[in-house]
């Protein structure tokens, strides 16, 4: 019961934070709130028994992600949105409401939250839960699935992360950047 209360209040906080993020115009405050958003998400994952995911989200979402956004802000030096909102907000709003309504209609058939007889729980999950100890000797099923049963997937993910690192290095890895360009640009503007 108390799980449900914590769950629902955290979800409500999450929704409030998300709406506040959209409505604010100061990018700095937005990034701060986004860090808080990640913390709340991670707490929700803990409440929903996804321990490893919460671990990752806490380290990645609240830590690295926030730090990277702040460094970007330091580089772009634009702390405020110049054109808050667009000229005609009704079209995007209508699109969003229609899509959301369709998705909510889709959820009406989903089994309720935490139903142990839902199709998602009865298909392959029991196999891993049963076989993890006899086959791999690892009590943490997430680790055994991650590294052993679905090793190929993880290899793919690692390659994606590696590629993203290389791409960032190619895009902004060089140190010789702004000062020279800016000087040239300023001279052009003056002339």
């Amino acid at each position: 019961m108390i799980d449900l209360v914590i769950n629902i209040s955290l979800l409500t906080f999450l929704a409030i934070t998300a709406v506040a993020i959209v409505r604010m115009t100061n990018l700095f405050a937005i990034i701060m709130l986004f860090g808080m958003f990640s913390l709340l998400t991670a707490a929700l994952f803990v409440v929903m028994d996804a321990v490893d995911v919460a671990f990752t989200e806490a380290a990645v979402g609240a830590g690295i992600s926030t730090v990277l956004m702040i460094t970007t802000l330091a580089l772009t030096k634009d702390q405020d949105e110049k054109h808050p909102g667009c000229h005609r907000p009704w079209l995007p709003l209508a699109v969003v409401i229609v899509t959301g309504a369709a998705l909510v209609y889709g959820t009406l058939d989903i089994p309720a939250f935490g139903d142990p007889d839902a199709p998602a729980q009865t298909h392959v999950a029991p196999y891993y839960l049963e076989k993890s100890i006899p086959e791999t000797g690892v009590p943490n099923v997430v680790t055994s699935v991650l590294a052993s049963y679905r090793g190929f997937d993880t290899l793919g993910e690692i390659v994606v992360v590696f590629t993203a690192g290389i791409a960032v290095l190619l895009l902004i890895g060089g140190r010789h950047s702004t000062s020279k360009n800016k000087k040239n640009k300023r001279e052009e503007n003056d002339a």
Partner: protein, 119 residues
């Protein structure tokens, strides 16, 4: 009725967050804010998957003596890797924003379009 609402609250909030992120991406002109919108969208998908994996009264999927009911480990694996990949791709997007700022001097979409047209 109450059971129905409580049983679907998670999904509805996930959809709400998804729509909030979607709205931010399509209606705001600031590139950093667009990336934050994408991140909110991403988090909503994580939330949906983890909600599906939860079993009421179940424990975290670490096998211990005397516990019979565990939540589903497969979505956890999926989302765990997705989070790390997500931050890597977010970093890539932010790097693009930095380059755009250096090339155009602004991170507002309107002004970038204006500069492109004036060429």
């Amino acid at each position: 009725m109450m059971d129905f609402v409580l049983g679907h609250y998670n999904y509805w909030i996930a959809i709400f967050l998804m729509m909030v992120g979607f709205y931010t991406v399509i209606s705001r002109g600031n590139l950093v804010k667009k990336i934050i919108g994408l991140n909110i969208f991403q988090v909503s998908v994580f939330l949906l998957y983890i909600s599906i994996s939860t079993v009421q009264g179940g424990a975290a999927p670490i096998i211990t003596e005397g516990v019979a009911l565990y939540s589903n480990p497969l979505p956890h694996v999926l989302i765990l890797t997705a989070i790390v990949v997500g931050v890597a791709t977010t970093a890539l997007g932010l790097a693009l924003v930095v380059r755009i700022k250096e090339a155009y001097g602004t991170i507002e979409e309107d002004e970038i379009h204006e500069q492109d047209h004036s060429l």
